[in-house]
Amino acid sequence: MINTLIGDIGHASVIVAFVAAIVSSYAYFMASRAAVEATGDTSWRKLARGAFYVHGAAVFMVIFALFNIIYEHRYEYYYAWSHSSNHLAVHYMISCFWEGQEGSFLLWIFWHVLLGFVLIRGGKKNKEWEAPVMGIFSFVQLFLTSMILGVVIGDLKIGSSPFILMRDFMTDAPVFAMDPNFVPQDGTGLNPLLQNYWMVIHPPTLFLGFAATLVPFAFAMAGLWKNKFSEWIRPALPWAHFAAVSLGIGIMMGAYWAYETLNFGGYWNWDPVENAVYIPWLVLIGAIHTMIAYRRGKSGLKASFILVITSFILILYATFLTRSGILGNASVHSFTDLGLSGQLFAYLGAFAVLAIVLLVYKWKQIPTSEKELSTYSGEFWVFIGAIVLCLAAFQVLFTTSIPVYNSFLGFFGIESNAALPADQIAHYTKFQLWAGVGVAILTGIGQLLWWRKSDKGGFTEAIMLPGMLTLLFASLIIVLSKLGVIGNETIDNPVYIILLVASLFAVFANLSIILNLLHKKVTLSGGAVSHIGIALMLIGILFSSGYSNIVSENTSGLVYSREFPEEINRDNVLLWRNAPVEMDKYTVSYHGQFQEVEGVPGYVNRELLFPTADEYKAIARGRIQAGDKVYFEIGDTLNLESPENTYYEVQYKEREGDKTFTLYPRAQVNPNMGLLASPDIKHFADKDLYTHVSSVPDPNEEKDWGDLKEYELAAGDTIILNDYVAQFNGAEVIKTVPGIALKEGDIAVQADVKIFGERKTYHAHPVLIYKDGMAGYYPEVVGDLGLRMTLLNVDPEQGKFKFGVNTTQKDYIILKAMEKPFVNILWIGTIVMSIGFVMAIVRRNKEGGTPKAAKKPKKNKEVQAA
């Protein structure tokens, strides 16, 4: 039964939200005019506020409708059908919500609504900002809601509605011609790589960051518009911090997801989609620094305007890049093109033009300070820091935009065949590493100068201790790495040493500032804390990426061709099942395929699971236990959590020492996307061991069983099968066969064959069933040994049993494993940075919330620096 009501409610709500955004932005615009403000007439503002509340309510309604469609499995809607499926867990239904472009727009809109509500409430305190700021907000909402409007006027399609019905989406499908009310039974499911808890929280955090960059932008625009050229900084500053921390955490969550789920062996791949968010983040950090410098030294106002506006426009540019399809070949994971590129370009263009025109128009009126900054002032180094950040952003932007140049030139009929650099990591690292060095040194110097007690003399004094500690620790680390105590390799690359020294200096310099602030006012140390976080992140990146070490180097000596002897890394190793291989300092062995079973912790060997017609159900072939606890008995029906996922048991044993651990890297053969391999990671204090399968025998391909060999055996006979000793213990008539209904008169005979493998003894139980006068063969496959046994015939008079045995190639996997030294420092650094940001937000919010507090310039003079 098609439920068109919920879709109609949703679609109608989108239209209401769109119209309310128009009304709200117009009314706020009217309310912001000087003439209206002077009269004290609040009617426009009341109307605008009301319209924004209506807009918000409509957005909530849209979200409710869309979630209802997903949650209730209403596959008559394309969105549910293409992003969800019957077996999806509830928390992944939330991810389905934003897997599609429309849903992620909706998420972004939702955060804007919430932030708008907060600003309206905050606006009651400083009324003068509400109308212009919210005017910009509503104007942005107008563009965003238009993206999901789904209205067609003539040939013009505005937006793509998430509430489109299957029959309207696939007008050509014959099934809808026959029966317009046809509803598919199941959806096509969520992209398996997105079925990860980080994908439940990463997009909302990232989009919160996206949404929050609008706040400082709206304040900056309001400041320009209402000629309040300097007053906007104070309320905008905590929001800028908030945006930066949400965006930063969002980016790092994405990085962690990639590390845990994808198999490129790291957390950052310089993919255009990643870069698209990294660029505005860098500029936003730069903007925060110039704003803080302005708060203290009254210089840097113009720079603050430029950077705040740029960061927002770069967010729009990121949206354009990832959603318009312009990246095409260049990116692995951008959204599919919904044909919205024109609309996205209009959104980007409208705000870029509006902001730039307004800025240029008012440029002359923006107050500037005439005095030159002294090289010994903290502000000077803050500016240098902001410049380094912007140059770093510019570099990433310039290269990431290469596909855009091609399209742009193509637009004018010029054919361009420029491609992204062949080795992107080397390309970006070449610059970003030095930006990292610059940032690290500047955080140290800038902070020390910012907080120094007296003039010139104080600086030498302040830098002495951190400088000495830095050199001490740096040499210690290098010496320890030479001795092999830290990491696997000696740290001898001069560039890496420079980065290490710079980062350590940043840590110690900022630490000394925190220590000084401890007995003054520790709440002011947010900047120092987040700078320590950044420095730790740099150290973590340096070790985990710079000294990542391939464990699975192919040392078998078997290579296909020796055409290219040197420089080719042979990073993958073939592991036969149960045949240990020496790798680095481990002995590694592969022990078979496992699956997740509902209610059983860990993984269950596939050999214990008898498949049924329903791929989500299996019958236990043996007792299923974990530890000492028995979860299922033979014959029980089990629910499989995700039948498409196979976990490969890989055991590591340290050669020196007895430590053993087991990893379960995952692979899924997906009909649409091929082999999707996800790593399993063993975390140590000083490193991660990262393991994934890079190839497996295609499970959909029938195994190549050798010729059938027949054996006639009596109970107690011993034979050799595929080089293993096997003993036939006997056979019995059984009453029940898992998965098969036996009637009166049917006979089932089960043989018991014991096979002595290398590691353990296996029992094969082939079954022969006489049912309705027909013989049914239920062979037993012993995957570990590459054997298949079939009970072919029973001769009860002679006591002879005829077996058919096929052998096959044993199961194998191709494995890649690497060590990531000190990757934990990167994650710890991220957390430290976030804590620092939160401290700064609390403090800036106190300043920003109460206008009077800022009137005491002496007390608030100490501000954090680069």
């Binding site: 059908w81 062949a422 296909y560 990073d571 996307m673 082999l675």
Partner: protein, 141 residues
């Protein structure tokens, strides 16, 4: 000269270095013919080549070789570029699993010893995320 001017000049200088260097690093989409010419000139820079897999009239892929039992890090195949030039390509990694179903293949690398050594393979599959074709199956249930 004021300090700001010095900084301004420095910033512009760095920006120019960034642009020049990025232009230098940027790769290009070329045909195999051009890739061969480059290697003959001693130019070992890596290029992108777009092509399709070589297929016989029955639609089977020809010239593909991957035997993990011998060497899991050695995969070769024949790629036909847009000028219909056939070239043997070597990839020192396991074969990407959905390789056979790809419609278009983009490889990055250069010519060495008369074979194209690829260090990156990007596959364009017919329906990677848009499942319009699955409809028929689902509908027939």
């Amino acid at each position: 000269m004021k300090k700001t001017h010095i900084i301004g000049i420095l910033v512009i200088a760095v920006a120019i270095v960034i642009i020049m260097s990025s232009v230098g690093d940027a790769s290009t989409y070329v045909s195999f013919g051009e890739a061969i010419e480059r290697s003959e000139d001693g130019d070992m820079t890596k290029v992108h080549v777009v092509g399709r897999l070589k297929k016989d009239p029955q639609g089977h892929i020809v010239g593909m070789n991957y035997d993990p039992l011998v060497d899991p890090n050695y995969f070769t195949f024949m790629l036909v570029d847009t000028n219909r030039y056939e070239q043997k390509v070597v990839y020192f990694n396991p074969k990407p699993q959905d390789f056979e179903r790809s419609e278009q293949v983009v490889i990055t690398g250069n010519m060495q010893n008369n074979v194209f050594v690829a260090d990156k393979i990007l596959l364009k599959c017919p329906s990677k995320y848009t499942e319009n074709e699955v409809q028929a199956n689902t509908a027939s249930l």
